[in-house]
Amino acid sequence: MSEKKKWYSLDLGLNRKKSDTACGCGKTEGGCGSHKPEMTDDAFLEAAVNASIGEEVRKDGFEQVFDVKMDRRSAFKKLTASLLIGAGAVSTSCSVISGDDTKEKAQIDWEEQFKGNYKLMNDEEKKATVDRLMRSYELRTGKNISMTHENAEEDVLFGYAFNISKCQGYMDCVNACIEENNQDRNSQMQYIRIHEMKDGKGFNFNEADDNYYHEVPAEGHFYMGTQCFHCDNPPCVEVCPVQATWREDDGLVVIDYDWCVGCRYCMAACPYDGRRFNWSKPEVPENEINKNQHYLGNRMRKKGVMEKCTFCVQRSRKGQNPACVEACPTGARIFGNLLDPNSTIRWVLENKKVFRLKEDLGTEPKFWYFMD
């Protein structure tokens, strides 16, 4: 842990090893008064975790695949049980009987609940939380995921261009995006919307259909995709009361799912319908989970938080194209580094007549449209 913390964190001695003084009494093993309720510690902690923030924190997105139903009574308990979880964690840390796994889980839960904002973390802290999340997944499912936390590279600014002449409305990008980014299957969340527009009416979004179910390309129509445009002057970032969403140095606008309080102010502020909210617990079948994750990208979300397109940060920071670009059969989607004079995106911007949506709002989207 670093010396200079930007947020307050409680130290309950959970970080100390078992061989350290594990209890206020000074003894490592039982024998002082406070070791007494050991027998029930485990059950107590379980109950406390379950009863309170458990749903949000213990499962921490990872368990969204396990549909752990709670009965109504425990939902009531949630209202008051934040204290219990603290007490439970303390007593477990003092306990000698409870299993190592349970204790480790409790420790992870505690640290995850009270960790700070990812935006303000240094690399060490970022690594710590990513490690915790991976370990937590392993403890709960017995399976491994890989999660990374690459930072923005220097001299990189990501941009995107969309060729309206080429898009045929196949929606392969939409499907690839859903799979790549572990989006909730229940609510049919999709970051990308493809608008089907009538020829001869111009870019008339009002009459466009973004939810069509028929063979494409449909006669007399053209197609236009929208998603988060990663504005350079993003209004969504300004309004967030807790800085849970921000613009990274490579231009990506990202969200810390664990820091978001779910007020949806950013959603009201976005002029491009770029954001999606988890109205209920997101669910992805275990065998469909994309296990190559990034903390700011496609890791599992929980209910009550905001999410959106990240230009596939887990791919783009490794030098790959986002899933939508890769999936597009027509080559309508172009992605790249705006600061690299040799990139395709730069060629498009320099040689095509490009435009952006709602430019009058001053949001400076890094998403251009063009035609052949």
Binding site: R72, A75, N206, R264
Partner: protein, 408 residues
């Protein structure tokens, strides 16, 4: 030390008054408790299943909760309309009623905070908003401004009446040098809470329906109509159920405030309608949707036209001085106005901001039963808080509650 003792006694005494009362009082409190329990049950469902149990969606992402929050900020701000003449302009008339006004403000603010919390997706991580422990995005986010001004106002409105009642409880006269600066501050503060809340919406270039310079002033005008209207109704109830004396003169003066505010509100409404419909642009679509419906989607029509009719009728009647002096007519108009402005600020302001969506999609919003349940529960909580506060305050003001001087 002595203070603590007095305070302890005050709490004990007020607990005593609160738990005793007429049969009607008990029925009222039992009813409120029942509604609150229903609300809690609905909220537990929401906690369990997430906000998907509400009618909100990605297209209309704020609904009944935020509407009520907005309306109640206005009600809270209105208490100041009584504070100002009493403390600052030394208009004796209002003195008894002002404590009630401040009680309403406190109850309204508590409801505001409850509505905001009910609207949050992650209430368990709300500590992220506490400055020092979490990250407070001040001054960029208007929401943080709102948190500051609302809590500050709550503090002011708790401390001023508390000071006055605490002195009276001991049979002493409150010192104006202490409470007058507080009262002046709260006058300014009330304007601030309302303006800041309006800025919350006004500052979003993404929503042309809100992004309009008249929003803030119109908020103020409608608040200063709805708030005092509620105060009149509450005073009427108190007058008929307790021996607390409220003179007709007081009611008439408040009625005057209501009238002027309602008139200004109507003028602004006309100006807004003119702008939207004389030279309609792409940005007038939300207003079109609200008043006439778009693409056959007309969910808000009955609401807004009811509100406007009620609003106009009430304002017209109130404008005629003779009718206004008739208390029965006055109560009727106040009730009309209160409901009209509630609709206007709720369904008429928040929901159409999202419709049509950024790309013209029209998805309508209707609150679910659970959402309504939580909302009613919070309103019951507000009424409960106010009843408790008012009962204690009335007891002290009437001299029934007094600290028994002991030798110490």
């Amino acid at each position: 030390m002595r203070r603590f003792k007095v305070f302890k006694n005050l709490v004990i005494d007020s607990l005593d008054t609160i738990t005793k009362g007429s049969r009607k009082y008990h029925i009222w409190m039992a009813f409120l408790t029942f509604v609150m329990l229903v609300g809690m049950y609905c909220y537990s469902m929401q906690l369990q299943h997430g906000l998907s149990v509400t009618g909100m969606s990605d297209r209309v992402s704020w609904g009944l909760y935020i509407s009520n929050f907005t309306f109640l900020v206005g009600v809270a701000a209105a208490a100041v309309m009584l504070v100002m003449p009493t403390y600052v302009l030394k208009d004796i008339d209002f003195k008894q009623s002002v404590i009630m006004g401040e009680g309403i403000a406190v109850a309204a603010l508590i409801m505001c905070l409850a509505f905001v919390i009910a609207d949050m997706g992650g209430p368990s991580v709300l500590w992220h908003m506490i400055p020092g422990i979490g990250v407070f995005n001040f001054p960029n986010s208007m929401l943080t401004w709102d948190v500051i001004v609302l809590n500050g106002y709550l503090f002011l409105n708790l401390s001023i009446p508390f000071y006055i009642l605490f002195r009276r409880y001991q049979g002493k006269v409150p010192n104006p040098k202490v409470y007058i600066p507080g009262a002046i501050l709260s006058v300014l503060w009330a304007v601030a809470i309302h303006l800041v809340t309006a800025f919350l919406y006004q500052g979003l270039q993404a929503r042309p329906f809100w992004n309009n310079a008249l929003l803030g002033p119109r908020f103020l005008a409608s608040a200063f109509a709805a708030g005092p209207a509620l105060i009149i109704l509450v005073l009427a109830v108190i007058r008929s159920f307790t021996s607390f004396k409220i003179e007709d003169k007081t009611l008439n003066k408040i009625a005057m405030i209501v009238t002027v505010a309602a008139q200004i509100n109507i003028i602004m409404l006309v100006s807004e309608l003119f702008k939207e419909f004389y030279a309609p642009t792409h940005h007038s679509e939300s207003a079109y949707y609200l008043f006439f419906g778009l693409d056959g989607k007309t969910a808000l029509l009955p609401w807004i036209w009811t509100a406007i009719t009620m609003n106009v009728i009430a304002t017209a009647i109130l404008t005629i001085g003779k009718l206004r002096k008739n208390l029965k007519v006055l109560y009727f108009c106040c009730a009309l106005l209160f409901v009209a402005i509630w609709i206007e600020k709720g369904f008429g302001l928040i929901v159409p901001g999202f419709i049509p969506g950024p790309y013209g999609k029209i998805i309508e919003y209707l609150p679910t039963k659970i959402e309504v349940g939580v909302t009613l529960g919070i309103w019951a909580m507000g009424a409960f808080v106010f009843t408790v506060l008012a009962k204690t305050a009335i007891g002290i003001e009437l001299g029934k509650l007094r600290y028994k001087k002991k030798t110490s």
